[in-house]
């Protein structure tokens, strides 16, 4: 008899696709998903016939609001020639497609299906920034919104609790931003493929052209300290602490473990996965931790038999700089209160002992919310395959990587561990 907390059969990831992320007003989610789907089909080493897909699970947060169209499941099914087989849309705010991935895994593990496509998509560019902010705030708690909190505001509030508890300040988060932007130019799909130094040079060039005084920043931190260059959004979160508004789509092909080698010689396998739920701010016992992440991590570690020390690299949900630090602690990569120090010491750089957000993270790669969970897993998958190009983690034999995804202000969190055997 299968035991609680274990899957009844294994699942492998044998294909993946991700669009370039950015703002693409002239295209829509069908275009995005088609782009990701075509890449996915081409990525399956031994090829496969899309007719064999048994079921589709797609995550989408709020195209209902962002583009006034709901019920996206059948639209995607029609797009990829899947009609009349089943398609299910999942919604868990920014964790919508990580939940789709999980549902796809469970459907295969149950024995119902052998081949499942999971993915996600979002188009945020057709609304104004204020409207997008309002749309995202619908995923916060009603109490937070009523009190006047914005999405960045909730994370900013947790940041002040973190600073007070551990005796640090917003400058410690500059290291997160600088680290993520160092990875960005190495990712051809990133929305902002620029280092902080690139932003500084662009601003200096603009001032020179306009005949304005040339800013004299000593270094990247000095630039981030300058409120003219890096204005506050919800103090202590400034512009460069916040991820952008993005469009895009991602998908992965999941198959039952016993048929995985029909698709590729070296499939990437699911080692463990977990999902948790969380309180809104006023009900949290501790404002410096995400209980949903802790629960998701425990479930994933228990399923896989792995520990935090076994995770060689990870995508960590960095919608705001503070989120990356707190989540690294909740996932067990560092002790509580040690996350910001680890970033300062360079431990999470691409060439560090535990690279975090090799993709550049949501901050630089972009955050089309419904696509993000699967886009993160795409990065882990491509790194484990050794096909991440210039951003391939150097000089390491990668075997185990993970992705952490957060929805809302921590209401849903997932943690998924993939491995190469």
């Amino acid at each position: 008899m299968p035991r609680k907390g274990k899957l009844s059969r294994g699942v492998a990831v044998v294909g993946g696709g991700l669009t370039k992320l950015g703002l693409f007003k002239d295209r829509n989610c069908k275009d995005f998903f088609a782009e990701a789907f075509v890449e996915m089909v081409g990525s399956v080493d031994k090829g496969f016939d899309p007719k064999e897909i048994d079921a589709v699970y797609v995550g989408n947060y709020s195209n209902d609001f962002f583009v006034n169209q709901a019920h996206w499941g059948p639209i995607i099914s029609d797009l990829i020639g899947h009609v009349p087989k089943p398609v299910t849309r999942t919604e868990a705010a920014c964790a919508s497609s990580a939940v789709a991935f999980r549902e796809g895994v469970l459907a295969i593990a149950s024995g119902l299906y052998d081949i499942v496509l999971v993915g996600g998509f979002e188009q945020m560019s057709r609304r104004t920034t204020e409207e997008v902010a309002e749309g995202l705030a619908m995923a916060a708690s009603p109490y937070e919104v009523a009190a006047g909190f914005t999405f960045p505001g909730v994370f900013a509030t947790m940041a002040t609790a973190y600073f007070a508890k551990y005796g640090t300040d917003r400058e410690s988060l500059f290291n997160v931003t600088i680290k993520s932007h160092n990875n960005a130019p190495l990712n051809p799909k990133a929305q902002f493929p620029m280092t902080i130094r690139d932003f500084m040079n662009a601003r200096i060039e603009r001032c020179r052209k306009k005949g304005e005084p040339i800013p004299q920043w000593k270094d990247e931190k000095d630039f981030l300290r300058d409120s003219a260059a890096n204005p506050p959004v919800a103090w202590p979160m400034h512009l460069f602490d916040c991820c952008p508004i993005s469009d895009g789509a991602a998908c992965l092909l999941l198959v039952a473990e016993e048929i995985a080698k029909n698709f590729m010689d070296n499939p990437i396998y699911l080692a463990g996965m977990g999902q948790g739920s969380g309180y809104s701010l006023h009900a949290k016992k501790d404002l410096t931790t995400y209980e949903a992440t802790g629960a998701a991590a425990k479930e994933a570690y228990d399923m896989s038999g792995l520990t935090p020390k076994d995770i060689q690299f990870s995508e960590v949900h960095d919608c705001f700089s503070i989120a990356e630090v707190v989540h690294m602690e909740d996932l067990g990569f560092f002790k509580p209160g040690e996350g910001y120090k680890a970033v300062a010491e360079g431990l999470t750089r691409l060439d560090g002992p535990i690279p975090i957000n090799t993709s550049g993270g949501l901050k630089t790669k972009g955050h089309p919310v419904g696509a993000t969970g699967v886009a993160q897993l795409y990065e882990v998958w491509i790194q484990l395959r050794g096909k991440a190009g210039k951003r391939q983690v150097p000089n390491r034999n990668l075997r185990v990587g993970a992705a952490h995804n957060l929805g809302g202000t921590g209401g849903t969190c997932t943690f998924t561990i993939l491995e190469r055997r």
Binding site: A133, G148, A161, F163, A164, P232, W235
Partner: protein
Amino acid sequence: MEDSPFNDTSYEQFLNGGKIMGSKCKKCGALALPPRSICVSCFGSEMEWVQFKGTGKLAAFTSIVVAPPYMLKEGFDRNNPYVVGVVELDEGVKAVARIIGVDAKKPEQIKVGTPLKAEFLEKGEGPDKQTSLAFKP
């Protein structure tokens, strides 16, 4: 009002009357603010109303510079930020609320741990009157 259901609507009606009312589980004594109809400590569903004094200390906060549309209507914007935060009440529960009487333009001077007391902010009149909870030093 003592017979009011333990929900958000009752909580708001009490606020309109200048009272911070939450629930206390009759079985295990757990407090909740806003009130809960199901106790998340013991799963009891027998509750009684309890009034909170409205004193506590600042647990965490933010100064909102990029404001949502409904706060823009109240006159807040990039040049006129406002502060919201989490307040830990003396009774041991937390509330999210506006924090007034602090300089939203100098958030680095606002200190976690600052003692606060409740204020009731009123908007609209008659049946449209809406009271929201705020705290000030």
